[in-house]
Symmetry: C2
Subunit: 230 residues, 2 copies
Amino acid sequence: MARAELETTAAEPRTPLNRDRVLAAAVELADREGVDGLSMRRLSAELGVVPMAIYKHVANKDELLDGMIDLVVAEIDPPRTDTDWKTAVRERILSARRMLLRHPWASRVMESRTRPTMTVMAYMDSMIAMFIAGGFSIDLIHHVMHAMGSRLMGFTQELFNDQSDPDNPIQPAMLEAMGATYPSIYQLWQAVSHDDASIVGPGCDDQFEFEFALDLMLDGIDRLKEQGPP
Amino acid sequence: MARAELETTAAEPRTPLNRDRVLAAAVELADREGVDGLSMRRLSAELGVVPMAIYKHVANKDELLDGMIDLVVAEIDPPRTDTDWKTAVRERILSARRMLLRHPWASRVMESRTRPTMTVMAYMDSMIAMFIAGGFSIDLIHHVMHAMGSRLMGFTQELFNDQSDPDNPIQPAMLEAMGATYPSIYQLWQAVSHDDASIVGPGCDDQFEFEFALDLMLDGIDRLKEQGPP
DNA sequence: CGAGCCGCGTGTACGGCGTACACTCGCCGG
DNA sequence: CCGGCGAGTGTACGCCGTACACGCGGCTCG
């Protein structure tokens, strides 16, 4: 009776937990509530289960986060093999960026990880392979991988990493006053907000800025490659 | 009596707390124990004071972290005015990097901040001013600031951000086995560890890699500037 | 067919965290 | 002298991650 009641209130056939269900729920929760809203307790509640149940499927929270990274990194498109290295690399990185826009928490979590997971290793491996196929020297690839850094995963670390929340939209008076203390920032802001098509908004097209920086790097890399090993 | 005892055991003349002392102690603690070891409670213990005492001088932990950032950003050398823009920018960024090596926690904390503090704003302002003085168009400066991202503060976000701890130094057997699953990474690792002067060690000269990437960007930027606004 | 194991899910508990809120107590101007 | 004020205190709350012992249902094997 108590059993029946429980089942009725639960209203679920009680599909058993497993690692994949846990990870998928964690990703979904992080997508919805942000990474700060992801606690083992919230996640367990989401799964209709007691907190400690999760620990039968992941060793601890760090492993949970690693698993989540694996899941989303696997979403990145495989490399094209029908073009030159530059467009292949470019498109792959833009695919990574698209993944990151779907999962805004992912960049932050990846930054916090100390050792790469197997999926991330595989991603890097195939990225290196693209450069090798493109005819780069191993040494140059090494430096390039360092130089690209987080851009390989589709994000750049900005100094201020999120634009203002929409409920207090940088009132212009404040910016005007700012002109006195930070004249150069002010000058830049003014120019940006004027030549931009959209009057309102942050004034920066993030996608454009990302591609600008990416192409700047790719062109520089290309030049280094052409001028050769000596 | 109890009073006297307390004062003797404390053995301090009890210099009163103030914001600067709190921030300095927090920076010192973070330098020594890492950012994870920095809690309001640990910090208060360090200051010989009860946890809540700190809250008379900073509003909350976020403000504490902001204050710490201000403190260390102020350590970055002011811009030189006796050279061309490129070496001036280059040297300033390398100064920022030196600061970051003194305070390894700083990059992580800066990443986590959502709005820049006044000191960071001032730093960015003077950085923009350097490009203006160098004859850049405002539009180009805007893109450049985005493209440089965290490099302006002296760090790049790597995919794996810390090298292996020294107590298990990447046993070569593991790497050998890795060759099967990640052939390209293996190939790169082999090349790097062979042509490097030091047999042991991480095999990467971080300072060299940083300067390589920095110069790659600066050269690219230079070229964009020279080819002009049209 | 019965027993015992095994592994998923549970309950309870601990130590740490950030911080709200009400307090004491010493100093300093009126 | 005294009243207020501000620095430092004490206690408490609600989170967090997770160690550890337990219940219990299903499967294996005698």
